[in-house]
């Protein structure tokens, strides 16, 4: 069973989306550690370390994830988290942005999968496919 740490990053309090992600992940057989809303990047990384999680799935609905996630590479390196899959999804920009630009930007931060404004289940299908290929 894959272990997933999830939560809503930064000053974002979209709790309903957070609960839906939690329920959907559990329904697909993931073991979920839900840190809830208003979670800082350091807390996400620390939770991954404490639980030895396979996936970190960060969500953001208010579009401000960019500012909160820039230091992912630095934290990944500090804890040598080579085997963890990093995923971010939701509404990832304020205003209009091209999908491909956003994906590139978040991949440069260290995310393996970037889902901007797509259906939750489509995103989770892609996550499962990614994990299947990785193993």
């Amino acid at each position: 069973m894959y272990k997933v740490v999830t939560g809503v990053v930064g000053n974002d309090i979209h709790v309903v989306a957070n609960r839906l992600i939690d329920i959907s992940l559990q329904a697909r057989g993931f073991e979920v550690f839900n840190l809830g809303v208003n979670t800082y990047l350091e807390e996400f990384i620390d939770a991954v370390v404490e639980t030895d999680a396979d996936v970190l799935l960060i969500s953001s609905l208010n579009g401000e994830a960019e500012g909160w996630c820039r230091e992912l590479q630095f934290l990944m390196a500090e804890y040598e988290l080579k085997d963890v899959t990093f995923v971010i999804g939701g509404n990832l920009s304020v205003g209009e942005s091209k999908d491909e630009d956003l994906v590139k930007k978040y991949q440069s931060y260290g995310f393996d999968l970037v889902f901007h404004q797509i259906e939750l289940n489509d995103g989770l299908d892609q996550l499962e496919e990614f994990l299947g290929k990785k193993s």
Binding site: E42, E43, D46, A47, T51
Partner: protein
């Protein structure tokens, strides 16, 4: 049933009987029992052993080093539990930096090792044993992942193993470690030969004074003109304790107790005077505060009544700083929410209301940028301590 309540402090001995509350300076050339019986012989003779209740804060406070896996969970949880058990944190070490971490030179009362939920293993390795071999400690306790227990107990002598303080849902499980540390603190105080001798006077258990004050907290707002949330600051000769309503804490940890406490071991106006002066000189606001009090820093080196007053005023300021956003080393309380500050201990016999108010005003203005301050109450008749002792006495009877 009438009771005689006795508090052995590092500076004062005080008693509360049906005749009132009395205190006298400790004579450090005499054993505590001898000192107590000679000073309060008449009062003590009036009571049977089971009517005498004693607590002590003399030389209280234990030091600890915490080694944990992450700042947000293992170190945060263990630090919080340790503070609330009357323990002073010497340092915290992030395990992945342990090879480059400084080695504490002093004797540590207890080392705490924590990290990982129960279902993960292989958290700790040789690096831990190598670091521990350089330390000098009296007790060592492991409160991390269940899977690493056997490996660690095989490699660390006298390792005490308790339940993991991190649950499978990453929440805090504070009781086992809190009980262990509280007992260590209690043993440290009552285990001192001087204190053990007091059992010749009393057949009741001897408690630590911060524990007694903590017992009184649920009753304070009903007995005094205090509005919740409040803090109680007990400034003594060797230590300063601060007790606070949990509503003030910024940590979103869900635990049972409504009130917590911190003990600052090296913040007292007599036995810990040197470390208090050192802490004061290293606070960037203290010189301005001394100016407000119309004295110069030379007062810190003097031995006079005024110098003692100034030290007491500084200790109020420093302890407020230590629990506010000014210092992130300790638990941060939301001082903007604070409605009342209650001062108890020897300080209330020395400082007037105005002398306390000027410090609180300075703190709120400088650190929190506001002129609005909480109400201040001086417990100058030790009513809080009496309340705590009585509350405990009633619990014992139950």
């Amino acid at each position: 049933m009438s009771k005689l309540l006795v508090d052995i402090g590092s500076t004062y001995i005080k008693i509360s009987s049906s005749n009132g509350v009395f205190q006298k300076f400790r004579d450090f050339n005499r054993a505590i029992l001898d000192d107590l019986t000679s000073k309060f012989a008449d009062e003590i003779q009036r009571y049977e052993k089971d009517e005498i209740h004693i607590c002590s804060s003399a030389n209280g406070g234990l030091s600890t080093l915490i080694i944990g896996l992450t700042n947000s969970f293992s170190l945060k949880y263990a630090t919080n539990i340790a503070f609330n058990s009357g323990i002073n944190i010497i340092d915290t070490i992030l395990y992945h930096n342990i090879e480059n971490s400084p080695v504490a030179g002093e004797l540590l009362d207890v080392v705490i090792i924590v990290g990982g939920i129960d279902s993960i293993g292989g958290v700790f390795d040789e690096k831990l044993f190598s670091y521990l071999s350089k330390l000098n400690y009296s007790n060592i306790v492991y409160v991390g992942s269940k899977k690493d227990r056997e490996y660690l107990s095989e490699n660390i002598e006298n390792l005490v193993i308790l339940e993991n303080i991190i649950t499978e849902k990453l929440k805090v499980n504070e009781e086992p470690l809190k009980e262990y540390l509280t007992n260590l603190y209690q043993q440290d105080i009552v285990g001192k030969e001087d204190i053990k001798e007091l059992y010749t006077l009393s057949s009741n258990q001897i408690y630590s004074t911060p524990y007694i004050v903590n017992q009184s907290l649920p009753y304070i707002d009903a007995n005094f003109e205090v509005i919740n949330p409040f803090i109680v600051i007990d400034i003594g000769g060797a230590t300063t304790d601060i007790h606070y309503s949990r509503d003030l804490s910024r940590d979103n940890m869900v635990i049972d107790s409504e009130y917590d406490r911190l003990v600052f071991k090296k913040l007292g106006v007599y036995k810990s005077k040197d470390s208090l002066v050192y802490a004061a000189k290293n606070n960037e606001f203290v010189y301005e505060l001394l100016n407000v009090l119309n004295v110069t820093e030379n007062i810190l080196e003097e031995e006079s009544e005024q110098a003692t007053k100034i030290l007491m005023q500084l200790s109020i300021f420093l302890v407020l700083c230590k629990v506010s956003i000014h210092t992130s080393l300790y638990i941060t309380l939301n001082m903007h929410l604070l409605k009342s500050i209650v001062l108890t201990g020897g300080i209330t016999k020395v400082l007037s209301y105005d002398e306390v108010e000027v410090i609180v005003q300075f703190f709120y203005k400088k650190i929190l940028n506001t002129t609005a301050i909480p109400t201040i109450l001086l417990d100058s008749n030790y009513d809080i301590w009496t309340l705590g002792m009585k509350a405990l006495g009633e619990k014992d009877v139950d």
